[in-house]
Symmetry: C2
């Protein structure tokens, strides 16, 4: 990759035609995508709009790469808010000297994940910067989706007594990236949990008509998601240490390094709050979807103290689970 590939001229056009056009939309990625807005025309439908930059290091890791993350991260931001993901944009900042082959693998990942999620990547951009001005490839995706009429899930709706459910084991992505960096001499078979959660959210919302709110547990992990939800709802949240689904390998990594798995990043895990009466139906519906096979109840909302997350420990005690203060692991996504 040379600076000319970002120059706006024919080298850039060749790059776009060779690497991007075939993989994404048949007509290439124009400056502007023009989309039939039929799904948005329904009275009461709302448009959902979200964006994330991805700077993960290493760019490729067991279970995925920066492209997998970029598509699923944005799909999931839409889905956990109750939106049906429709269209994605993809903007690449590429360091001069980056392998074309790497870029092709990333784009192929994006194409595959978009197909799985049922979204279209409809517009894009590429910039190339000199050596040392970026670290290989950064990808920024934005997503547009539609929130069907009458659907309104939000953290503020959580009520005391509601049940908290996660869709599978926690911390795999964080522990996998840690191992993949190599500087800790950890060897592991861990794979990132990176996955799109759109189909799972639709299954949840079909099974639990009164589902309150969901969050994906990315940067800052389950602990940060729960703290944000407790604060927005003005409730307490209590989780059970014995109920947390954790692989022995992730537990071991955390013990070795003094990390708390509650703060480890996930890229295919969400926590959803539903009324107690809908909890069993939600669990069954989640377990019928591949990304929800490991669904399990981890706790509940309580009267308070408002905004506080507590964990009942293995030994019967209770400890406060705070927001993450510093940085557990940079460039996790």
């Amino acid at each position: 990759m040379t600076l000319a590939h970002g120059g706006g001229g024919s080298a850039m056009r060749d790059l776009i035609e060779e690497v991007f056009t075939g993989a994404f939309e048949p007509d290439g990625m124009e400056d502007q995508a023009r989309l039939e807005a039929g799904a948005l025309a329904e009275p009461g439908a709302r448009l959902a709009f979200t964006t994330d930059s991805f700077v993960v290091s290493p760019v490729e890791f067991p279970g995925g790469d920066i492209g997998t993350l970029a598509v699923n991260g944005t799909v999931n931001d839409l889905a956990v808010g109750g939106a049906r993901p429709l269209w994605l944009s993809a903007a690449f900042i590429i360091e001069e000297g980056t392998d074309f082959a790497l870029l092709r693998r990333i784009v192929a990942s994006m194409k595959g994940e978009a197909e799985r999620a049922g979204v279209r990547i409809v517009t894009g951009d590429t910039k190339v910067v000199g050596r040392g001005a970026a670290d290989r490839v950064f990808v920024t995706t934005s997503g547009v989706g539609v929130i069907p009429p009458g659907r309104d899930i939000a953290a503020a709706h959580i009520r005391p007594g509601d049940v908290a459910i996660v869709n599978g084991v926690l911390g795999d992505h964080g522990a996998c990236i840690l191992a993949a960096r190599g500087d800790l001499a950890l060897s592991s078979d861990l794979q990132s949990d990176c996955a799109g959660l759109g189909h799972l959210m639709e299954a949840i919302l079909a099974a639990a008509p009164n589902a309150r709110a969901a969050r994906d547990c990315t940067r800052g992990g389950l602990a940060s998601a729960l703290n944000e939800m407790a604060e927005a709802a003005g409730v307490g949240i209590e989780i059970e240490e014995t109920a947390l689904p954790l692989r022995a390998e992730v537990k071991g990594t955390c013990e070795l390094l003094g990390l708390d798995p509650l703060y480890l990043a996930n890229e295919g895990r969400l926590v959803v709050f539903v009324p107690k009466a809908e909890a069993q139906a939600t669990l069954a519906a989640m377990r019928a979807v591949d990304t929800g096979a490991g669904a399990t109840i981890i706790g509940r909302a309580t009267e308070g103290p408002a905004g506080q997350v507590t964990m009942r420990t293995l030994f019967g005690g209770s400890r406060i689970v705070d927001m993450l203060v510093g940085e557990q692991l940079p460039r996790i996504c």
Copy 2:
């Protein structure tokens, strides 16, 4: 700025609340913006969606900064396609150690430009990477707009005889960035032409109901925009060297450095093709808008050769104006 500011925990929340929330939406930048889609509900309306990453160096320059570019670049991508810009997302990749004050200035620029353009910045993201893994700040904006029913402007609609109009002097942005880098020991009073062109495009479309197509002349300059348009329409395009609006200072810079002003980047300039019968009305309408004060006819579409752009020179000759092949100036936007 420290890595903790990108960690997903409380330091990041403080950063978002302190720097972004006040400047952008009153409710802060949530993971997902939820927007009333009334403008899109009109039968026949289409949604326009676009994205661009900005990596300009230096980050601040006479007439603007990376924030000015990020808002106007995306607004203009929407506007030149006939869309009314509505909502923007903003994703920041920030190098560790970057000044908070710089970030605040960039965000203030974005707020001001968004207000001028009549768009709302409704969602965002921040990532922090280590020293040397990025060059201060990169900003990626995406934009959503609505194309009113029946409006359809596209390069493919250009017909022989159509008139090409630009909205002002060319190359100021490119020449200004060149001078601002300092390594050429150029001193100049040039300012970037960076500006939002949404209001200008609405004036053009009101005056020229049969306007064919418009492009903003960013990376690759006027020459690249015209080449793309000639190719898409299967027409020739002929421009007049004597008609090109260029400041003496920009001409001088180009002569000194062996650059061609046709390839210099602009960030507030567009070229629009209208039927000859609508050209005078278009000119008058453009000149009534501040960003169109310098509107002037520069050429016309011809029977061909298809896809070829030619320039009638000062001396009565004719030369082919090709796509830019290499890179005239990296990190111009």
